[in-house]
Amino acid sequence: MDTRDLISILPLLVLAGWACLLLLIDLFVPRDRKSITAILAAIGISVALVINLMQLGEVRQAFNGMIVLDGFASLLITLFLAVGLIAIAQAYDYIKRRGIERGEYYSLLLFTLCGMLLMATAGDLIVVFLALELLSIPLYVLAGFARPQLESEEAAIKYFLLGAFASGFVVYGIALIFGATGTTALDGIVASFAATQENPVLLLVGSGMILVGLGFKVAVVPFHMWTPDVYHGAPTAVTAFMSVGAKAGGFAALLRVFLAAFPELSAAWAPMAMWIAALTMAWGNIAAIAQKNIKRMLAYSSIAHAGYILMALPAAANPTVAPEALRAVLFYLFGYAITNLGAWGVVVAMEKAEGGGLAIEDYSGLSNRRPGFALAMALFMLSLTGMPPTVGFIGKFYIFRAVIDADLIWLALVGVITSLISAYYYLRVIVVMYMRSGEPETRSESWLNATVWLTGLGTIVFGIVPGPLLALASQSWLSSLVP
């Protein structure tokens, strides 16, 4: 270990140190002034963000290859930290209003972010597992943060039990892989297998288990069952953060592990990922139609979107399409983060004290009450459907194109048809907001409003001018794929 190693994980170090420090500082912050903690947390994230932006474009390994810093990692870290900032802004007044303003909320958020950062830079299966746990455990706590409310506690317990179950598979998978190849380093696995071709079944089973474990994290069918219940029960601000951050973190690991460590096995996992993607898109979108609660609806929507993102994995199995598919995924993750955070922001604003205001019917007449919010929400819904000129359209366009270029026409067809189905429930929100009369109660909290405006602007701007972000995404390579 030398200084360069430490510099490579400097954002992570800052964040982790800051989170620990924050726990201490919070002891001295008076009970009614916990917003100080929020602002301190935001400062910590900003510092990490600045450091990360300064490292943008660097490619190097640290800690003997356990940590890989490359364009892919840097860009995702940027995403995670930005999501963290928005999450703090959305929680700022919300947790006050719900009466659950406790300082550790922000520390937990920072710990989760650490997990995500580690996830993006992991170069070793052990680090992947470490990151997974670091990401998950604070999230379990956050999901139950609204204790002693039953729904929130239930969500936390469910999430925890199933998460532990999934982690078990991951760790078992890692053990099997170690058994097969004698290493847990991502590049070591490739080298070892290429050299010996030994123990393919062990390796296959191991990789299958990792697929399962990470598939749980990103909520793909059939490992999605927890999603609606947890999203529904968790405090809405946590759900917003979870639906974007944890998903992106899971995909970061999924892409790196499968493209860097198991390229030889793509004959097995590519068709599987394809089926899972198709099933997820179909299941998520069809089940969402029946939902009457907006949090559950968005939960199924997030399942469906996991399917769209997963489509890129089988496409990336084809080496000629891999750069295009990776670029598409990165762009999609950004677009999805912007849009989804915005939509959840509106949900946060609409939520009433005792968990009321969450039925889709409660949005009746929003266009009269808060025309700006209704317009923003309409934009988010259009973007989630994938209609131009929003960022969601561009994201889907590039994903579908990568899939078609990889000759998986039928998968693209499933994607298009399920997008069509999804219009039904997304547009219903717009219909309710604009064509039904009602007097919905909304909150106007400046930080929350700012996130909605910002994401709304992003949704439309990146939908019209996707060029810069796309260029950034196409420069962000997985270092193992650099030709």
Binding site: M209, V212, V221, P271
Partner: protein, 694 residues
């Protein structure tokens, strides 16, 4: 660095984007803060935004004077998808700068005029809050027009093309709740929009063809291709140019798509002057001039362009003779004059066309604004009468635009009269006003190229002078034919000063391209293929004679014995059915209604009612799909789910029961069930990994 060094370096080109930015800034300020700023500030901000654009246009002019080859100022990479790359850069060359100067210059004057005009108009119409909205739209128009003019490729031009179309629509329907039956203005806006869509369709198809043939939408690439491979691809280029021509007939109101322009006069008068006379409608001419390289190759298309232009020139001029609405006369006159320009670019006289485009912008804007001044004068008179308690309209709706309600305004509105007279004489082509030079250059070129075109245009010129003579005599001479006209006052300087400036332009505009000097020809030479048109004294003499003769006849009919109150148009007696035809616009609207609109609506009715509703909804959806689905789910539920699944479940114990329970209720809420489905998923994945892939 001295100014001349700046010029040498060509660095002034870098300021070109500001020409779009200023109006955008103006409209943003007015849009956001407009209500707090008050009318005066809104007007000043909007006008100075356009004024600054004009300054930028002048800077570009200076930059071109040392670098006449022009340049392309890149702004952004807009679209890059596979083979298609469309950057957004501003084309600054002599052709586009000519348009920039004309558009921003005339716009600035009309903006100033509109401060005064809209101040009165919003009060007359009873909604002062709309003052700001007007200037926001007006600035938006200038910005989009600049996008169109500075486009470096077909797609960007199309963006501007659609943008100005949108502004036109918004401004025609500015008083959308007014007009005939409270919906007339909205219908006029819709008509303009839909008619233009047909033209836009042509433009789009042309663009697709170009991309298919050339693989690029950049002007430079396309023209280079036409130059190199034009002769092998005459068929494609002919198709492209014909579709572009369809686009031009929509935007520039030519046969067969001219019908929207007269109705567009429903917009406030500054809109008619700026958008529907001086600038937007010339976009089609500009587009065809810009695509000279393509039209040079396609002889058939060029001939058709010339023929359509000349035919429109004559056809619209005859209609103008039979109109009574002061703005409608000018609208048909605009269509006719646009026909002149189109004919000019059709016979290969791009310079003459652009020359007439510029001079026409001056005198037609002048005429419209003066007409606005007249209308507002009449409205004031009308208002004044209502105020003093007289009942001027006799119970009927009073139309301040109807020339039959005017007369004798010469002495009431002196400045308006003189500038109107200057505009009318310039339009009629009387020496030495601007219209004389530009129209004669077109006629001389037409004479050189085609006798048919020349004859059509000459007759059209005769009618032009006649209807302008008729208008002047009806409006300003004789005795007032209504009480309102008796009390019409002159308007304030904020309106008359722009009129005077435009009148100066209408008088001196000819110096742009005097015979023997060819300033404009030399200027455009850097962008287009040009030829010097020799001054043809026979043509000039003939057209001047005809114009004077026409004015004489007009005097004979309308001046010698002025029209009395309520008496019919004396021409009706002389021409009989021909005048009825002119008055009814040769029933073109009715013809379109009969041939296109009504069959279309009938078809839409059939599609909506029979195909969509009865067949698709009632039969296919309700009967076939819904019933099948209902029956199917009932069967699944009763026969399959309840009997088969439950049967198995009961038989196989708790495990299977849990699975079937999951299938029925999807989301039980029990963690054990979730974990079970998880496990099933794991087993499926792993079995596939082990057995499926080898």
């Amino acid at each position: 660095m001295s100014f001349s060094e700046v010029l040498q370096g060509g660095s002034l080109f870098a300021y070109a984007p500001l020409i779009i930015a200023f109006p955008l800034l103006g409209l943003l300020i007015n849009m956001i803060f407009g209500r707090r700023l008050g009318e005066r500030a809104v007007g000043i901000i909007a006008s100075s935004a356009v004024g600054l654009s004009f300054v930028i246009a002048i800077l570009q002019f200076f930059a071109l004077s040392t670098h006449p080859e022009g340049t392309s100022v890149p702004i952004a990479d807009w679209i890059t998808i596979g083979q298609l790359a469309v950057p957004w850069s501003l084309k600054v060359d002599t052709l586009s700068v000519t348009m920039m100067l004309m558009v921003t210059g005339v716009s600035a004057l009309i903006h100033v005029y509109a401060i005064g005009y809209m101040h009165e108009d919003v009060r007359f119409q009873g909604d002062p809050g709309r003052f700001t909205r007007f200037f926001v739209f007006f600035n938006l128009f200038v910005a989009t027009m600049m996008v169109l003019v500075t486009a470096d490729n077909f797609l960007m031009m199309f963006v501007g093309w659609e943008g100005v179309g949108l502004c036109s629509y918004l401004l025609i329907g500015f008083w959308f709740e007014k007009g005939e039956d409270g919906i007339g203005n909205a219908i006029a806006g819709k008509k303009a929009f839909i008619t233009n869509r047909i033209g836009d369709f042509g433009f789009l198809i042309a663009m697709f063809l170009i991309f298919g043939a050339v693989g690029s939408l950049q002007f430079a690439d396309v023209f280079h291709w036409a130059h190199e491979h034009g002769l092998e691809n005459v068929d494609v280029i002919t198709a492209i140019t014909l579709f572009l021509l369809l686009g031009a007939t929509g935007k520039s109101a030519q046969i067969p798509l001219f019908v929207w322009l007269p109705d567009a006069m429903a917009g406030p008068t500054p809109v008619s002057a700026l958008i529907h006379a001086a600038t937007m409608v010339t976009a089609g001419i500009y587009m065809i001039a810009r695509n000279q390289a393509l039209y040079d190759v396609a002889g058939l298309s060029s001939n058709l362009v010339a023929l359509i232009g000349a035919a429109t020139a004559l056809f619209a001029a005859t209609i103008a003779v039979g109109q009574f609405d002061i703005k409608r006369v000018l609208a048909y006159s605009t269509i006719s004059q646009l026909g002149f320009m189109l004919a000019a670019v059709g016979v290969g006289a791009q310079v003459a066309g652009m020359f007439h485009l510029v001079t026409h912008a001056f005198f037609k804007a002048l005429l419209f604004l003066s007409a606005g001044s007249v209308i507002q004068g009449i409205e004031h008179g009308h208002h004044h009468l209502e105020h003093v308690g007289a009942n001027p309209g006799g119970g009927e709706a009073f139309d301040p635009n109807d020339m039959r309600n005017m007369g004798g305004l010469r002495s009431k509105m002196k400045i308006t009269f003189w500038v109107y007279l200057i505009g009318a004489l310039a339009l009629s082509g009387i020496f030495p006003l601007a219209g004389f030079w530009s129209k004669d250059e077109i006629l001389a070129d037409a004479n050189h190229e085609s006798i048919v075109i020349f004859l059509l245009l000459t007759v059209a010129a005769f009618f032009t002078a006649f209807y302008m003579g008729r208008q002047i005599l009806m409006v300003f001479f004789g005795q007032p034919r209504s009480e309102a006209a008796k009390h019409a006052p002159e308007n304030p300087p904020v309106m008359t000063v722009p009129l005077i400036l435009l009148a100066v332009g209408a008088i001196l505009g000819g110096v742009l391209n005097l015979p023997g000097m060819h300033t404009l020809t030399d200027w455009l030479e850097h962008t287009l293929h040009v030829h010097v048109t020799e001054f043809n004294p026979v043509v000039a003499g003939l057209s001047t004679l005809l114009a004077l003769l026409a004015i004489g006849i007009a005097w004979f009919v309308y001046g010698r014995q002025p029209m009395g109150k309520g008496s019919p148009d004396p021409l009706r007696r002389m021409l009989g059915p021909i005048f009825v035809g002119m008055e009814n616009k040769w029933w073109v609207d009715e013809l379109y209604q009969f041939l296109i609109v009504r069959p279309y609506i009938a078809l839409a009715d059939v599609l909506a009612d029979v195909i969509d509703w009865r067949f698709w909804h009632d039969w296919f959806h309700d009967t076939v799909l819904a019933r099948t689905f209902r029956e199917g789910t009932r069967w699944l539920n009763d026969a399959f789910d309840l009997r088969v699944i439950d049967g198995i479940a009961n038989g196989l114990g708790n495990l299977t029961q849990a699975i079937s329970g999951r299938m029925r209720f999807l989301q039980t809420g029990y963690v054990r069930n979730y974990a079970l489905s998880f496990l099933v998923g794991v087993l499926l994945v792993l079995s596939y990994f082990i057995f499926g892939s080898s």
